[in-house]
Subunit: 257 residues, 4 copies
């Protein structure tokens, strides 16, 4: 459960990651083979496992003690992490194995392939946004000057940014979705984005702060009161993670010049 | 028409961009004021223009001669650039101005605000993906060893990558959407993604190659034959742009370590 | 709270309904006028209220005692009815008033109008499906021969129908959506349909049985266990309502011939 | 090509339709068996074909001469009917066969099943709306008093209805979707609805007039000029079909009382 992402960019660079994935292929390959064999008896030869289609995703451990958040219960956080996030990790791995089999079969109609690619996009969104969400929870620190300055430059002042972020969240109450503050790598802007499900995301954007608005994020603790949950979320933001994410983007921009 | 993005990350860094935007505020502010005044007579004071809500988007000129593509007509490309992409630039600017007015009015219900934020996400996706799409057209060069190696490490071999990219596109024929090969900044993987509209995007991903599958990308030239269009698209990929995008991501990863 | 739909088709015919709506216009008009005036000071003259844009929706009372369901708590049902369903009724009325103002203003851009029409479609779906859902809860009766025969003719046997209905629901766990068994008026078939949100619906279809799969339908009682909720839903189906809905469709078919 | 829907509700009643479907099972069963066998070698026994999962959809012939529309070219209409509508008929049949196999296999994960059910909803929407669309084209008649009165009662006057219908369409230009004027069977109202894709539909609604806004409906003739297409659509509406559809709904309402 506490195993880290094998190729988490914050821990090793891309070549290392590919090496790690390749090294774990014998194990992964065995699992993939088992499932694929079951699925495709007599239909097509099993493709060699390749990173883009290998079930390499593992749950990332919580970076905080779920018993110690302010206004978000341990029961809620554990259920969210284990069932909703954990379920998406499993499903993403299963989808990748099915994609490998489907692509190897020349007779798979494109519409069937794309039904699986939709699931692939959705589960990728769920896994990535959940990891970013849990990673930016568990803090008691204040916003530092670095983040405050960047947000101020984009939004006029910090209060305007916060007002918009919260308003977007309030509008998502009773349904599903995410609020994402992100640095758009293409336009160079920091903006807040509304997302209605795991398929949505701002194009070409590095997320800075992520808030889950699916009802499983708050119904157990707050029922239908989405705004009470948003208050609790703000009390638990780990701002140092936002600082870290913003610095990475700045480093990138410097590296280019 | 040929004006570039004021804060295109490939041309200046973030602080410069913010400065440029701020410097142009008097002009932008005047336009915003005109529209906002018309909309909100007597309702609320006009907010100060701020980058996140300013109509700063300008059409980015084509990087190639639209008369010289292989199998994609000048008429098609010009209509696509001017009407579909150009229309989204205008709408994105208009949405931002409406958001500024709506946020400043405390009585705007969250659901109304989020209707506009959905349009904001959609038009941002349209503008960003269209610019990436046109930027990766107009080439006659072959895939270089650098890109071929990275794709090979992710997909086993280049042919598998291409087969999947094309299959995703074929499945989108007759509808709307995008195919995006991208480097997921969170998982560290290069993957192909299916997108059904401008709202969709892979989470936390830097796009490498983008193919428009909205019917306005091909109906004029190919009618319903989406696969003929995909063939033409592949003949016109500017691979050096893909190389450039991939190198930026690598530079980022190095900068972090 | 217990007021019925003014033009519920099960209570009066269309002309009566239109009359009722028109008769209540003075009251509705006053409210609409108040809101519209606030919104559009000086912008455009208030349009006359017309049924398609009038805030005529009122919450429909529960047809059962929410304290007496088997495995669905009173707290859950009351929160669901009051906050989620009730919220959509209010929002639907508010959207209609905004549409009236927006349509009367010739300068409303079509994209802004359609943002509101999307909300209109979504809230219409929410209100209609919620009313159908609550109406088919609260029963202790068994499936009668009439329904069993019709479902059997479509699905081979009743067990196949139920297995599919439940499987669709299980796949929606952790997200949002509806499962609808409906009579498609165009194809003449009884089928089960997967819906991922309030915008989705089977084309031209009269619903027979509706199951809410938004997390607010079960998180309070069952946490992430969507299948336990589905079990509870099946124990509480009011089958006589399904019979009634099916008979209405048959009556229609006879009336045509 | 000219074969009619086997169980089109305008031609026979439900029991007749089921009989017809059952009678054609030996043929359908053979096809289904062939496909399913290919797919599932050794996996699971082939289920008996049942109407809900049988590939019974056949293209419905155009009710007008496509060479004689005013401002919509024969080439456009033929491509639209054959490729886009015809493609969806084929895909809907293929999806149903895959659903039969997937449901019979107890090991099919719900998320995989629901990927297919989403395709089922989408293709059902495409087939149904396309048939309604083509069926309400090809006319030169004026709106009759019956329809004019009903629309007037709902919208105040006919011009308001038309203005909204056209505005919704204009906002969908450059993307995908439908505009549907329909009689909502649950609320009793006649309204116009915005749909962004084949998955969308107004809940519990009998369509009266359907306009396709996918770009394949007009790009060949009008390029990006969606409003020119909307003008042409209005010149070709077969209003007697709208009258007929409205009378069916009224008959239903009378039958209930």
């Amino acid at each position: 459960m506490s195993t880290q992402y094998p190729n988490d960019p914050s821990r090793r660079d891309f070549l290392e990651a590919v090496t790690a994935v390749t090294a774990s292929m014998s194990l992964i390959g065995a699992d993939a083979m088992a499932l694929a064999t079951e699925e495709s008896k007599g239909v097509s030869p099993m493709p060699d496992p390749i990173p883009a289609f290998a079930p390499i995703h593992q749950p990332r451990a919580l970076s905080f003690d779920p018993a110690k958040l302010d206004g978000l219960s341990e029961k809620l956080i554990r259920s969210h992490w284990e069932n909703n996030y954990g379920g998406s990790v499993k499903t993403l791995n299963a989808v990748k194995q099915r994609l490998a089999v489907a692509l190897a079969d020349k007779d798979t109609p494109p519409f069937v392939y794309d039904d699986l690619k939709r699931e692939h996009l959705m589960r990728t969104g769920s896994v990535v946004f959940h990891e970013l969400y849990f990673d930016n929870l568990g803090g008691t620190d204040a916003v530092d000057a670095y983040v405050r300055k960047a947000i101020g430059e984009s939004f006029g002042d910090f209060a305007t940014w916060e007002a918009e972020f919260r308003k977007i969240g309030a509008g998502l109450g009773g349904g599903s979705g995410w609020v994402v503050a992100g640095h758009n790598l293409h336009t160079g802007q920091i903006e807040n984005y509304w997302l209605a499900d795991h398929l949505h995301a701002p194009a070409a954007t590095a997320p800075l702060l992520v808030m889950d608005m699916y009802e499983h994020s708050y119904q157990m603790d707050y029922g239908a009161s989405a705004t009470s949950y948003i208050d609790a979320f703000f009390r638990n933001i780990r701002w140092e993670m936002v600082t870290d994410r913003l610095k990475r983007v700045s480093a990138w921009r410097s590296a280019r010049s």
